[in-house]
Symmetry: D3
Subunit: 134 residues, 6 copies
């Protein structure tokens, strides 16, 4: 199994609902250093998993929807706790949609899996990994 990983980041404000979150119920924020990993069994005709430049661009565009915002005010997250885990899945699902829409090129449609890892500090991260094929 081959994989390729590209890294970018976004910076947001948010707050959590529920006593479990203790002081994190207050409005605060985070930098999420974001790894997008693409998996496939065979390389394409150019000997790549995915065009790294395009993958970097698509990831940057997706993270740009959240970068420098307050997640509490985005319709996509209304009534949702935007935990690192939830954000990792949300971004992975958005990236999967972009791949199905051809934004990473034709051959990217045959990718096997993707994983999004969000590093919220030097000591904590969360990830979500999902298949791309139905």
């Amino acid at each position: 199994m081959y994989s390729v990983n590209v890294r970018d980041h976004f910076m947001i404000a948010h707050s959590f609902q529920g006593e479990t979150f203790g002081p994190a119920q207050a409005l605060h924020g985070a930098t999420y250093v974001t790894d997008a990993t693409f998996f496939r069994d065979r390389l394409d005709a150019d000997n790549v998993v995915v065009d790294i430049a395009r993958a970097t661009d698509v990831l940057h565009r997706i993270l740009g929807r959240y970068n420098l915002t307050n997640l509490d005010t985005l319709p996509a997250f209304e009534g949702v706790n935007t935990t690192t885990e939830h954000l990792a899945r949300h971004i992975a699902d958005t990236l999967a949609g972009a791949i199905h829409d051809g934004e990473l090129g034709e051959t990217a449609r045959t990718l096997d899996r993707i994983r999004i890892t969000l590093h919220e500090s030097h000591i904590a991260s969360a990830a979500y990994e999902r298949p791309l094929q139905p």
Copy 2:
């Protein structure tokens, strides 16, 4: 599949038995920067894999049993080579026990897998990954 990772460290002395270990048969030591990774298929009602604060506390408590000790003198490791691999498993099994005992909360009992990674330097690490369910 979702995952969450938290990081801590512990510092120990130990020595190895057996010619394979060459100069590492002498008493020496290591800092183990430790990653605990928790895996599950679905998030709980709070939208998390595990309560990160609790996971951090439990990991810190477990590593505290070894931190600032000479492993050669601990009953748990009598007659055992405390290689990085062995320590990774020992800590993973201890963490699994703590989860079964409810130290990470009720919902943590349905975690799928855990992995312990011990970084012994900038160029070497070992890990052990195991299921939590019987």
Copy 3:
């Protein structure tokens, strides 16, 4: 010259005033991975620059004043752009005060300099370094 460095982090929301800041004028947030570095010419009687455990505790307490808050609402930052540079200085000055007040012990009063470095992502950081003696 000797130095000792300890690392911690805090997570905040804030926004900036002024067209220079472009989209960062909107409410957003950051994780600041924080390095506190202590400098001195001679070690104390225990052969240390500073008691690392105490330094870690004091840094954690200082960062705790900002962790999980919206900086825009804190009196200390009223009418101020809480840029990474400004925060680095604010924390360095606060730490200098704590040292003068003896929170790091008697011998820490003779420290020469301190530096606070705030890493806001994997590609950007800011720092402030200042003397401790008048």
Copy 4:
């Protein structure tokens, strides 16, 4: 499942064929920080996945075939785009051969899988993971 990881690096020149690669069609180069990861279900009699010193030596010897060369002139890569993905597989297959030849010792023959990860910068990497058993 246990694993052990060792890290080394190599520095090469190369160029790519095909319009997909844009400006990377020109002769350029890269440092590949290389992680070799070894997986197995059970530890051997010495309580290790693999002898770390031997694994480090074998990896260094394999990377030494490419280090400080122009990959475009090596017979092994004639007519091939030496993408990071392709190199990861090439090195993984070479390492698998070395293991089958006994260079990592008898017990290493029962390793389950290996993975080679090549970090080409602080924001991009590629990996290839393969089984060792037929």
Copy 5:
């Protein structure tokens, strides 16, 4: 003293002249992960050392002159050993020129010092630090 650091990278081929360089006399290459650090005593009216977005852009443009090239063929390096040290200075001097030309804005002209650090692997780097004022 305040400082701000931004990071980028470039990937090049080159070779060295002189027996000191041993096997590095052959054509090979490197990824240089590049830190540009800007120093000043006082913040400007916006409470910054330098506009981070502009600094990132200017650094990217400067590194773009070398990225994906063979340094041996660039007139700027004719007859010169493009060691990491030499490249660090070359880039620092180029950046200083850009600052004097106003590419980082008016207030950047009063910066005190800059430093360029080039990381050629996980175990080696070189840097050059210079004043900006005459």
Copy 6:
């Protein structure tokens, strides 16, 4: 000012004397990831601060005196608390001696300064910087 940095590591056991050290009075250990930094104003005839390969070898040889030992039993540290700060200075002074003895070559004798940084974990390090000239 130019600088070059090379990295290696060593793994030791030790204990501390004095109540300040609390539980670290017990025999324990550490991995010290070690950076050796060499500073000079002008490059030598080969356009380098120091021959990186030689610097790496000399550092490795020096660290080899301590690697895989119990520092409490070494004559060099009799009656001394081998704090990270003290070790940084001890290694820096040893390296300075090696440079004066010509182990890094003739031109290395005109180096300006050196610094040794010991990273004892992902959150703590100590350093010692000293001039080389009398």
